[in-house]
Amino acid sequence: MISLQLPLKDEDILSLRAGDSVLLTGHLYTARDAAHKRLVELVDAGKPLPFDIKNETIYYVGPAPAPPGHAVGSAGPTTSYRMDAYTPKLLELGLKGMIGKGKRSDEVIEAIKKHSAVYFGATGGAAALISKSIISSEIVAYPDLGAEAIRRFTVKNFPVIVLIDCLGNNQYDIGKKQYAII
């Protein structure tokens, strides 16, 4: 198990390989479909983003509301491919890490390689467990989007696995090949 501090450093990203289990500590931003759409509209209009995306990590999540006494409600990953159309533009601006679940498009994988970034997976449906590693949450932008607003999470030992590393190695392909019986 590897422990890493967020925001990620270039040397951390270079050393990570698909299949590595990692515990993340530090801060990250949340965004899913609607927030991505707005972010990329700002980029296209040449306007500044509501937070500095350089070196940051985005977690694809729309958390459940926080019950009293909890920093957040259940907060597991959503399926990442819905963000694929927007992701290369954000990587261009310096986004370094993404956390989600599921496959990415070839364009996203190319952009991950080009900009030396990393795509992590969190366990889909382990949302109550994951919420235990989120210590605080504040809305940074788009409160009108409700669960889809952009939040800044402080996380401690957030459990993830490297799905696509900066060389383009893909754990989904590697794992499937290893266990397929043909």
Binding site: T78, K103, G121, G125, A128, K176, Y179
Partner: protein
């Protein structure tokens, strides 16, 4: 004739969804634990262990099993000797859903209109409601909270009779392969075969809520369920899609009479967070 108050239906719907959202079905839990013991892939095992622990935390702390607390789907079997008083069935169900998603701190994930402005309704209504009128004076309610990570990986195809069993197998395996990690494996595969276009889809949805130890009573279909499960688990997709031998927990098939020219097949995929509860009023 028996009179049932709309309020009774509403209260039962609230209870069912509150229960489904945080308490995993016992058979799913047992199945996950067996899978964790038999999974040869270390990363796969780790995913299964996280899911099992997640479900314990959800139950202990009354937190939703998954942040996607789903779209509310309700199957209502209404005895024809029942008269519902004090409001409509539809209103009672939607009020029940609204209250559950509010009280349970569940996520509200429904948009009022799908294409142009996609504005959230703010209370997770309306539910998708399937009503069947049956004999008797009871009401049977089945509440399903359906996550869309797996719903989006579902598929329907109008096969032709000549495609036969092999055609069905090919379509199921293609669909599961294409879905890969996206629907949060291990999955439950519901398959509706026959009927018409929409009948196949409704049967498939119903299959996702059947007990995991249930098999189709027709031995041909039971055998097909087992063969499909085995083939799916040979694909290597594994828990979380990270590689392994537990890709599906169960394949359920329901069939219906169909047209001489047709072989509709609908596949509804459900994630391990299979949340459904039922009751009889």
């Amino acid at each position: 004739m028996r009179i049932v108050q709309a309020e009774t239906i509403q209260k039962e719907i609230t209870r069912l969804f509150l229960d489904a959202g945080v308490n995993i079905e016992k058979d799913v839990d047992t199945c996950l634990k067996n899978a964790a013991n038999n999974e040869p892939s270390p990363v796969g095992r780790n995913v299964l262990e996280q899911i099992i622990r997640n479900n314990e935390i959800a139950k202990e702390e009354k937190l939703p099993i998954c942040q996607d607390t789903g779209m509310a789907v309700v199957f209502a079997e209404i005895g024809q000797d029942v008269h519902i008083q004090g409001g409509s069935l539809e209103n009672a169900i939607n009020k029940g859903v609204r209250k559950a998603y509010d009280e349970g701190y569940f996520r509200k994930s429904i948009v009022a209109e799908p294409l142009f402005n996609r504005k959230n309704t703010g209370d997770n209504t309306p539910a998708v409601i399937h009503v069947n009128i049956v004999e008797g004076d009871k009401i049977k309610l089945l509440a399903i909270a359906k996550g869309f990570g797996s719903e989006n990986m579902s598929a329907i195809k109008m096969l032709v009779p000549a495609d036969g069993v092999e055609g069905v197998k090919k379509f199921v395996l293609e669909t599961v392969d294409k879905a890969g990690p996206n629907p949060c494996p291990p999955i439950i595969v519901g398959i509706g075969i026959g009927g018409s276009f929409e009948k196949a889809a409704i049967m498939a949805k119903k299959c996702t809520a059947k007990p995991l130890n249930y098999s189709n009573p027709d031995p041909n279909y039971a055998k097909l369920e087992d063969e499909l499960l085995e083939s799916i688990n040979k694909r290597g997709i594994g828990p979380g899609g990270l590689g392994g031998r537990t890709t599906a927990l169960k394949v359920h098939i329901e069939y219906a009479p169909t047209h001489i020219a047709g072989l509709p097949v609908a596949i509804n995929i459900c994630c391990h967070a299979s949340r459904h509860k039922s009751c009889i009023i």
